[in-house]
Symmetry: C2
Subunit: 337 residues, 2 copies
DNA sequence: TTGTATGCGTTATCAT
DNA sequence: ATGATAACGCATACAA
């Protein structure tokens, strides 16, 4: 491994001069810098992140906490998409990412301890149980934190605009003539609450009243529970003409149930999803859905965390809402009313 | 931050004694260890991974190279599942993982350089273009490497047994009475080659001849190309009675095409997928498919890499085939012939 | 059994 | 503009 010491020997300058030159210090003459940079690259020099960290207390490493209750972890379309852009955003800013967990080897660690152990400059938290004491400890620590899809006190949060999403869907459904709109929503989280708020608010504005039995709770990413809810809705004396699903993937459960009833989408019943994952766009009929902007969610999370890290003194936490977009498919029938 | 120096002061032992005690050195008396450990934990001591690394040249950090040609990156069911178990396997062995890329900030780096920069003890390579010079440089370097689903010279490879998978599917299809079996396969990779080999070998053994026009090339994870191939197959004078798809997800494209032709699965045409992702099991009819054992693939990759790292002298590279299992669904009709 | 001294590769302080 | 030196936190060879 070639170190600055080797470069120092090779070009006759002292170690400290080499270090300064490589860090582009104004103290060093342009010609000297030139020479040192050249020999460094010729010798294949690479800075040692660990040694640098030891001096500067900056690891250029971001921790990522990503554990969902369903244990599906990375196998969750929405979150793996967010993670992907998170990773790319961080990398383009010069940071690597490390997954944070609560035990490493057989040594139990809190999330906070793991972050300290790896000297993470900051952490991005997504998809976790925000009541977990370990998560709370981390958020309340001195480590800069950005949360995704959850507002925690005054730490920076990047939020998919679920209110606007539900609003856009309801408006769109309404325009197609539907008044009997059912909403199968996910388990009770802040995300769900905002979607419900957007749903009710928009219905009210449009002057349509939704009976309570049109609102069903299922679980995110779980076609089975959405299938059951669908069955209940289809069995009603006064069934809805359009069903909103917790997410595109869960819709598969509804789709099966609808087919089992001998009904066809969208002729007999209209549906919409949520998320806008790849799957939704390859199904036929194409699913009308609301695409969450996972690229921007991940990128903004990385950008804001880095900003918080690099301006620790002046950074002011903020909440950033990321809008998605309506993806118009063919799963809603235009009806008269 | 509390260091061994602080502990040293607090309990009156020297720094080196503390260090040895914390590392459970036999040199230190049991009572002393006890005391030191106790004060350390009371003071909330955490070892500093960077400092330790600087001395020991071991980072307990594994690099992961995960870039596929379709740029779908982490948004790929199969690979995100492998990654997930990779992560868990590594963590349970005391290693963290870091994504390797080819530029960090605006500094262009080769994969190898990135690994060195982060002092990765080893690297797991999956889902990349193995002709990329950067990948080749990394594999040929002194850094221990484990590849997934690709054999590269004599580095250790963890391989999903695609030959057995194709074999199992063909046998199963045959048992249901089918003789006209079409195979839509993915782009030409070693994975595809093995599946094709398994396919042909089994057909031969069973004494069925497959005309060339039953074999179509599509792309993995791309329903559109599989849809096109399906259309061609359905348009044949002598269409197949069963179609094998490159993967479960691609099957969606075939499914749409089949429905468009007014055909029904499995009554009019039988199908099988590959992968056994969650989606395949929630579709109706349930897709008959071959589940790749992603848990074991990821875990074995982590285990073997760690073994290679920790026994650098004695470790012998090997190839490990991981079998999957047939997932019997309802997408094949039993027919007379 | 415990302590002293040194160095890993880097940056920062202070001198020259 | 350049160089000598210390220090970051830890582990280890060697001394006691």
């Amino acid at each position: 491994m070639v170190t600055i010491k080797d470069i120092s020997k090779a070009c006759g300058y002292s170690v400290s001069t080499v270090s300064k030159a490589l860090n582009n210090s104004p103290e060093i003459g342009e010609r000297t810098k030139e020479l040192i940079r050249k020999t460094a690259s010729e010798m294949g020099y690479l800075p040692n992140a660990a040694a640098r960290l030891l001096k500067t207390n900056r690891s250029n490493n971001i921790g990522v906490l990503f554990v969902d209750e369903m244990q599906s972890g990375l196998r969750h379309d929405y979150f793996s998409a967010v993670l992907n852009s998170l990773k790319e955003g961080a990398e383009s800013l010069g940071y690597d990412i490390t997954f944070i967990s609560h035990n490493i080897g057989n040594v139990p660690m809190t999330y906070y301890e793991h972050c300290k152990y790896r000297n993470c400059d900051g952490v991005i938290i997504a998809c976790v149980d925000f009541n977990d004491p370990g998560v709370i400890e981390l958020i309340n620590s001195e480590i800069p934190v950005v949360t995704i899809d959850h507002i925690f006190n005054d730490s920076t949060a990047i939020l998919s605009d679920n209110l606007k999403g539900a609003e856009a869907l309801v408006n769109h459904i309404y325009e197609f003539g539907h008044r009997k709109i059912a909403f199968i929503h996910g388990e009770n989280t802040s995300v769900t609450q905002r979607r419900l708020a957007g749903f009710y608010k928009t219905c009210q504005k449009l002057g349509i009243e939704i009976p309570d039995y049109y609102i069903k709770e299922a679980r995110y990413h779980d076609p089975r529970s959405s299938g059951l809810a669908t069955r209940e809705l289809l069995g009603l004396k006064d069934p809805p003409t359009c069903i909103m699903y917790p997410d595109d993937f869960s819709f598969i459960g509804g789709m099966n149930e609808i087919e089992k009833h001998g009904l066809s989408i969208p002729d007999d019943i209209s549906v919409v999803g949520y998320d806008g994952i790849y799957l939704s766009q390859v199904l036929r009929p194409r699913l009308t859905t609301y695409r969450q902007n996972t690229e921007e969610l991940g990128r903004k999370a990385a950008e804001n965390l880095v900003e918080a890290i690099e301006n620790k003194k002046t950074y002011i936490p903020k909440q950033i809402w990321v809008e998605g977009e309506l993806l118009v498919g063919d799963s809603i029938k235009r009806i008269e009313f």
